[in-house]
């Protein structure tokens, strides 16, 4: 067994909501905007407690991003909230020009990311958003793994000056990280040490990696697990240090293998320390309707896929 215990299933979006509520009470410069999904984003408490600092934009995401850029010009710290799909692809040009190129201190907070949005299907699930956001110069990209970490990240990004994309999800998942721990943007977290294979995981797949590692340990395969909550800037040092010990790596994410964490890791390793790698993620496909747990199995986004990938990559280890 690993030393991480599930403190009880909770959704990451509620971690965002709690973080935002806390920010509303302690930082008067924080403002929030939402495009008709206040309940889904868990922004209700902030909106009730701070009616003068909450802006309901209606179903108009492009305007929301522009408003946020303007609020940042006026010295505010705007947090925008909608689903990941409507937070990125729908408003890419608005983010690109008015936020990223203009270097505005806007926090784009995106719920219902990935396939675990579930029954609404492919129109609402996005598996391309990490790629879209990490390609924007100057954009910080964060994908948190549980409730506690999402709460801490929400607070941490308010203290960071610059545009941030914060990605989280819909379903209740294991809440296992330490709420007392500091959240440091850009720093990977070594969750478990091991010599045989490195697993770098982000978001919901961090917990799946921990379960996979426990099962592999029974086959005497010792995994080193790194939680990459910040995909950009990537913590290169923690990854290079780990693979210089293990000699092979698996990346795991609830995202297309095109453009996600796995590709960032490949870029790093191919230029600094060529290492056999397997990528766990969706294989250039859209999702579909279904229960989150069913979808994670069908699309290869669970502990079983991680176990298979670890065994595969070990075969190629020199």
């Amino acid at each position: 067994m690993n030393r991480f215990n599930n403190q009880g299933d909770k959704d990451t979006r509620s971690g965002f909501g709690e973080g935002l509520t806390e920010l509303g009470r302690k930082n008067k410069d924080v403002v929030a905007l939402c495009a008709d999904l206040t309940g889904s984003l868990k922004m209700d408490t902030f909106s009730k407690e701070n009616p003068d600092r909450f802006f309901q934009t209606g179903i108009a995401e492009a305007n929301m991003i522009g408003l946020a850029a303007g609020l940042a010009i006026g010295g505010k710290i705007p947090f925008t909230g909608t689903f990941a799909n409507f937070s990125t692809g729908r408003v890419y040009d608005q983010i690109r020009q008015s936020v990223a190129y203009s270097n505005k201190n806007v926090k784009i907070c995106a719920s219902h990311a990935g396939i675990t949005l579930g029954e609404d299907g492919a129109t609402h699930q996005i598996l391309e958003d990490i790629g879209l956001m990490k390609m924007l110069p100057g954009m910080t990209v964060i994908n948190t793994c549980d409730f506690n970490q999402t709460k801490l990240a929400t607070i941490a990004i308010s203290e960071f000056d610059g545009p941030v994309y914060l990605r989280f999800g819909r379903p209740k998942v294991a809440n296992f990280t330490d709420i007392e721990k500091d959240f440091v943007i850009g720093r990977g977290e070594l969750l478990k040490e091991g010599n045989d294979v490195t697993i770098v995981a982000t978001g919901h797949l961090v917990w799946e990696s921990l379960i996979a590692a426990s099962e592999l340990e029974r086959n005497n395969i010792k995994c080193e697990i790194i939680n990459i909550h910040t995909i950009k800037p990537l913590d290169e040092e923690v990854i290079l240090n780990s693979v210089s010990k293990t000699g092979c790596i698996v990346s795991a994410e609830e995202h297309n293998i095109y453009g996600g964490l796995g590709e960032s890791v490949s870029r790093l390793l191919s230029t600094k320390l060529p290492t056999p790698q397997e990528l766990v993620g969706t294989k250039d496909t859209f999702g579909e309707s279904g229960k989150p747990s069913e979808l994670m199995i069908k699309y290869g986004l669970n502990k079983d896929s991680i176990i298979v990938a670890c065994k595969e990559v070990l075969k190629r280890k020199k």
Binding site: V31, D52, R53, F55, T57, G58, A60, A62, N63, M64, I65, G66, L67, A68, A69, G70, L71, A72, I73, G74, G75, K76, P78, D93, Q94, R96, Q97, S98, Y101, S102, N103, K104
Partner: protein, 275 residues
């Protein structure tokens, strides 16, 4: 209007023509059409007084008319005049479309991809409301760019939320790249549309008259703080001040050659001294 502002307007025309000629690219038509607007805005309307914490802000949405923007900024002391020489050239802060990315003083946001400035301006206005700051946000948009849907999201938002500390001016020259706005995608009766969207609408019938721009601006300012966002439909002539560039979309994004530059400059004799 006093003679100084007329002289400044003529000099800005020279700056625009020389910048676009030197870069052999850029957008002279819309820039020339908005010279008088920028002169009145920067010399008579925008109020900035750090002692009173008063900080009017201007957002340019139709970023392609950057030549007129850069000229007025340089000629009101935001940066040195000779920097105008660098327009659209490598290693310059004067990009083809304006940006704050490289730290050019006076620019608040990047624009060029159309239809975004209105939302940004409204966002600044919201921040001023939170701060109980009584200064005003000014936005300039083109008419063609009102074809972008984001503007209508923003129009709806501002009236619904009673954002009444903003004055948006539309440069209504009736031209866009592919032809007249009527032919490309008719905007219809903008005044009625905007009034239906809950905006208080003023009109400037001659947007190349310093006096008329000033008078309507003052009138519009008197309507601030009364629950409605304010918009001014400003009819201008694209290419104004250079006879062969006027009333045609052909000079929207084309630079004059040496001969055309000479003719154009002769129609706007040197006044304050070229950069």
């Amino acid at each position: 209007m006093n003679e100084d502002l007329k002289i400044l307007s003529q000099q800005i025309r020279r700056d625009i023509l020389r910048m676009v000629h030197s870069a052999n690219s850029g957008h002279p038509g819309g820039s020339l059409g908005c010279v008088e607007f920028f002169v009145i805005l920067y010399k008579k309307v925008l109020k900035n007084d750090s002692k009173k914490d008063l900080n009017d802000i201007f957002i340019l949405s139709n970023g392609h008319i950057s030549p007129v923007y850069y000229s007025i900024l340089a000629r009101t002391g935001h940066f040195k005049l000779n920097e105008l020489n660098t327009f659209r050239k490598i290693n310059s802060r004067l990009q083809g479309h304006p940006t704050n990315h490289d730290g050019l003083p006076g620019i608040n946001i990047s624009s060029g991809s159309l239809g975004q400035g209105l939302s940004v301006g409204i966002g600044v206005a919201l921040s001023k409301k939170i701060n109980q700051d009584n200064s005003t946000v000014f936005v300039l948009t083109g008419d063609g760019e009102l074809q972008e849907g984001q503007n209508w999201e923003a129009f709806m938002f501002a009236s619904a939320k009673k954002v009444d500390n903003i004055i948006v001016t539309v440069d209504f020259n009736g031209q866009q790249i592919d032809g007249s706005t009527k032919d490309v995608l008719d905007l219809g009766n903008l005044k009625l549309k905007l009034e239906a969207f809950g905006w208080k609408v003023f009109e400037i019938y001659n947007g190349n008259s310093l006096d008329e721009i000033y008078n309507v601006m003052i009138e519009a300012k008197d309507s601030l703080g009364k629950g409605s966002p304010i918009l001014i439909l400003m009819k201008t002539i694209m290419g104004n001040g250079v006879d062969f560039m006027m009333n045609t979309h052909k000079w929207h994004g084309v630079a004059p050659n040496d001969h055309e530059l000479e003719i154009a400059l002769n129609q706007n004799p040197e006044t304050l001294g070229d950069y």
